[in-house]
Assembly symmetry: none
Homo-oligomer: 221 residues x 2
DNA sequence: CGCCGCCTGTCAGCCTCCCGTCAGCCGGGA
DNA sequence: TCCCGGCTGACGGGAGGCTGACAGGCGGCG
């Protein structure tokens, strides 16, 4: 699950990133409305957390443009405590839910899970890349129809790369996702993990881009 | 099975809780519509018992919002004796069944079981996995035809896993469904319970996926 | 009211196997 | 050719999971 977080206050943004990643999501932060609009249009996310009250293009503007462009992305908006008017406008503009600042991280995660569940009907729970299939409901992975056993960490790594199929992901980001950002693990641990995972998947699934990172190539479906 | 009960009258709420727990369900009570909406959206329940005529957001309002949000949760509504109009509106708003107050607890449980069975897609009230058979009406379990007795908790755990046969269920989720979300029980309690249950069932019924959770394998019908 | 049994959470000890580390190798680029 | 980034086999520590023992609690029964 990949979440786009639009928040200009660095402290809060960092908190949200940490909370989401602790809950097993992948968070990407952008700080202003223009960037949010661009990312939401050019990449695929599973949901968006949108602070109203942003520099450049404000949150409501982003939301309206998204809906006008028929982007069905679920959106959770963050509003100030006294932003009663904002909330109403936000819901009218197509937000799926709102949360009043300040809030507890648990609540953010709970509401996010709720709107993800609601929209879960649309997205297939199965991620595919060539001969590899990953079923998020049963947490099973198969290669050319044959089921294989992955450890918890291998599974998370594969799921993450499949969510970002076609993109090159830097090693540092992978480590962050696997262990939280406060990890002093060495890069070699990731390499060892990758070796073990590749052995189970077979060749050609996970590619190395020397100096850049790793990726699962887009098609070959 | 985890049931959300929405009832503002404490006496009745307590009665329902007791009846449901006696029948082997886990009941969580909320007293008003806003709370009901929030809980139903942020947690996962197997069904909801909803009193129409609540403070703040009324029962019908809750139901309409749930259905508008595409939440498929089975809902059983409670209405006053002369609430003919309410009943019709309730069914129109997406309730699965209704019950007229006052009612006998046995009837509530029976109807609940019926709508649970319907929505689970199980035509039969008997759940099977390999040599194990669980009859939800009589609450009996047998292995290769020989009846065994399970404690209340063991039964709940087995029933839940059988309902989600083929899926891997994380330990945290199992604890939620066994005790409700407000439990500070330790993971080890679950492990102890599993040991006792497995001893009665024999090997191969409940599998551990280290780091992922537990599951009853799908095939072996 | 007190005794007794069963259920279930906690604790401690054990076992399995995951995964981080290390050391050495490979291969591409200058 | 050397160097650097990435790969891989081996191994040991430790986390995750299992189980036997025990105790507190609750209901049943005399």
């Amino acid at each position: 699950m990949r979440i786009l977080v639009v928040e200009d206050e660095p402290r809060i943004a960092a908190d949200i990133r940490e909370g989401l990643e602790r809950a097993g999501y992948v968070a990407e932060i952008v700080a202003d409305g223009e960037a949010a609009w661009f990312r939401a249009e050019t990449e695929t996310y599973d949901a968006m957390v949108l602070d109203l009250g942003l520099p450049r293009l404000d949150g409501l503007g982003v939301l309206r443009r998204l809906r006008a462009a028929d982007v069905a992305l679920p959106v959770l908006i963050l509003t100030a405590r006294d932003g009663w008017r904002e909330r109403v406008e936000g819901i009218d503009a197509g937000a799926d839910d709102y949360l009043v600042k300040p809030f507890r991280m648990e609540e953010l995660v709970a509401r996010l899970r709720a709107i993800l569940r609601r929209t879960a009907g649309h997205a297939s729970p199965i991620l595919r890349a060539g001969p590899v299939e990953l079923d998020t409901r049963t947490r099973t992975v198969s290669v050319t129809g044959r089921e294989i056993d992955l450890t918890a960490l291998e599974y998370r790594l594969l799921a993450f790369l499949l969510h970002r199929q076609g993109q090159v992901v830097p090693a540092g980001e992978l480590l962050d996702h696997l262990h939280g950002s406060d990890s002093d693990r060495e890069a070699n641990a990731l390499e060892a993990l990758l070796t073990r995972l590749r052995r189970k998947l077979g060749p050609g699934i996970i590619e190395t881009r020397r100096g850049h990172g790793y990726c699962v190539p887009a098609e070959a479906s």
